[in-house]
């Protein structure tokens, strides 16, 4: 619909039709004290060319990682997106596809979603994946809901070393689900299985992140075992890009694997929109939120794809649905599928190795320059926390003035870490980039 504003005559006609003399009279029920009593301070109208120039100037103030040097991660990472991803995504049948309710019209996108689900299952070691969720935080809340119904328990445990955004969303949803949330503190950057075991009694599920928010490798199999000792469902929040190197959650006993899919095939896009993934063991299939595409045979015996198990969804099950979100992020999840297919198992492993090696190089360089790691004993994947000997927000602000974004200030979420910066190294960074990082963060 084109944007055409009302004329005075339009207004007068509408007011006359409903029998009101003026716009003021229309709003007379709203108390004067809460009404805005002057014109909006918008400045004069702009003609098209002026408006274009104004918007271009505003847009030019945005910076992205092609123009400035970024070591920002904390859940959203600057991995390279191969050209093939956009080339496939921009095909009309994928770009403009609506919810594929009619299988006879939608075999292409249904097959693509099925393959996405297959890729997620293979990477996480799970038996069923949904067609994606909103993002890496809402799938955390979804997992709690699945676990509550599977166990009949009303408590969830989440480690403090799990992303603060994931924890915040879980805590936001929990009261509506009738769930209590218990957080387990980290010890030197990782979670103690004994702490977790103690916290997990009567818990429906235990959510931990691997690698955790600090980039450190958790003793994930021991954490899963600790959850299972308490008959709570272990849920691993994982980075798809780590799964070429790290063990799949299914292999160490998790009941569900969830995460933010952005690092696989999505741009950072100022932190969204992206896609979340949620995969589970087969026993939870009827409790899975969101839609699932299944493979079947049509009347002629030909292979075909169709939305399946829809009775779990809100348009059929109403208030007993497994989620109030059945919308998913198909296009972005398909970007993930194209990315994962393009890299393959070996490519995924090599990206992981590159990030990890560059991370180790950056750590060594920073240590040589006099910086101190926050958790020197821990193994990290592509991200690590470093002390900068002064306020992290100040160090970050100073570096930003020179076009370098050295990382994320951990003090925002973790008291006592006001001097710590969380630094992410992806395969897009170079050893020369690390020189700039060291210059930005080395103690003065």
């Amino acid at each position: 619909m084109s944007y055409l504003s009302l004329t005075e005559r339009d207004r007068d006609e509408m007011l006359a039709t409903i029998g009101v003399s003026s716009v003021d009279e229309l709003f007379r029920d709203i108390p004067a004290g809460v009404r805005f009593d002057r014109e909006l301070d918008l400045g004069p109208p702009l003609h098209e060319q002026e408006l274009s120039r104004h918007l271009e100037e505003l847009a030019a103030r945005n910076v992205d990682t092609t123009r400035e040097l970024s070591f920002l991660g904390a859940g959203i990472y600057d991995h390279y997106v191969p050209a093939v991803v956009d080339a496939v995504l921009q095909r009309g049948e994928l770009l403009t596809a609506y919810t594929p309710y009619q299988p006879e019209m939608s075999q292409g996108v249904l097959q693509a979603i099925f393959e996405y689900q297959t890729a997620i299952c293979e990477l996480t070691g799970m038996e069923v994946s949904n067609a994606s969720g909103y993002d890496g935080t809402t799938v955390g809340a979804d997992a709690c809901f699945v676990a509550k119904h599977a166990t009949g328990r009303k408590k969830v445990v989440i480690t403090e070393a799990t992303s603060p955004q994931v924890r915040q969303v879980v805590k936001t949803y929990a009261p509506g689900f009738g769930l209590d949330v218990v957080e387990v503190p980290h010890r030197d950057g990782v979670t103690s299985p004994d702490d977790l075991r103690r916290a997990s009694s009567d818990a429906a599920c235990v959510i931990f992140q691997q690698p955790n928010f600090f980039g450190c490798l958790e003793p994930a199999p021991d954490l899963a075992a600790a959850a299972k000792d308490a008959e709570a469902i272990p849920v691993a929040h994982v980075d798809l890009l780590s799964l070429g190197l790290l063990e799949a959650p299914g292999a160490y006993g998790c009941g569900m694997a969830i995460g933010e899919g952005q690092s696989a095939g999505n741009y950072q896009s100022f932190a969204g929109p992206h896609y979340g993934f949620l995969a589970a063991r087969g026993e939870y299939i009827r409790r899975m939120p969101g839609r699932i595409v299944g493979e079947t045979l049509d009347a002629a015996g030909e292979r075909g794809y169709v939305l399946t198990l829809q009775t779990r969804e809100q348009h059929i099950r109403r208030e007993k649905a497994t989620s109030n979100i059945t919308t998913n992020q198909t296009l972005l999840a398909l970007a993930g599928l194209v990315y994962l297919s393009w890299l393959g198992p070996q490519g995924l492993r090599e990206v992981g190795e590159t990030c990890m090696a560059l991370g180790e190089y950056a750590k060594r360089r920073l240590i040589d320059a006099g910086a101190e790691l926050v958790f020197p004993e821990q193994t990290t994947f592509k991200e690590f926390a470093v002390r900068v000997g002064r306020s992290a927000t100040e160090a970050i602000r100073d570096a930003r003035g020179r076009g370098v974004h050295p990382g994320y200030a951990l003090g925002r979420d973790y008291p006592g870490l006001d001097d710590a910066v969380l630094v992410a190294l992806t395969e897009r960074r170079t050893t020369q980039d690390v020189d700039c990082l060291v210059e930005a963060l080395a103690p003065r």
């Binding site: 009827r286 009775t311 779990r312 059929i316 099950r317 007993k320």
Partner: protein, 131 residues
């Protein structure tokens, strides 16, 4: 293979299309021919746990067909003694034999006097006719 419509005289009925076969202190519970016909072929039965307490008029389990999920309402209060594993494994058993092999749970009655409040076959047929 679907059963043909019937409402046996030896059963007691609840208006939410559930039946009870009372035997001393115990009862078998299930859903009626009308209920299974309305749902269509069942693909999943979500049973309660053995030992659970169920209350008259409240849901104690779910049955799911390809097109709908439906609560199963308890016609009587009591404690779950047994879940019909055959229906868990092969939910379509309910369609084939709703009053026989398709029973859902066996309960120990919590309040035997509740039996008097249930409908007999003729009264339930009136409910079906009005549905």
């Amino acid at each position: 293979m679907a059963a043909t419509e019937s409402y046996p005289d030896d059963l007691k009925y609840h208006k939410e299309h559930d039946w009870a076969r009372v035997d001393g202190d115990d009862a078998l519970l299930g859903i009626t021919w009308f209920a299974q016909d309305a749902l269509g072929e069942l693909v999943h039965y979500e049973p309660p746990n053995q030992g659970d307490t169920i209350s008259r008029d409240s849901p104690y389990g779910e049955v799911e067909s390809v097109k709908a999920v439906s609560d199963v309402i308890a016609p009587l209060s009591g404690e779950i003694l047994e879940v019909n594993q055959k229906v868990v494994d092969e939910p379509e058993t309910v369609n084939a034999d709703p009053y026989g092999e398709g029973w859902l749970v066996r309960i120990k009655l919590g309040d035997p006097s509740e039996v008097d409040s249930l409908l007999d076959a003729d009264a339930y047929k009136q409910v079906v006719a009005a549905s």
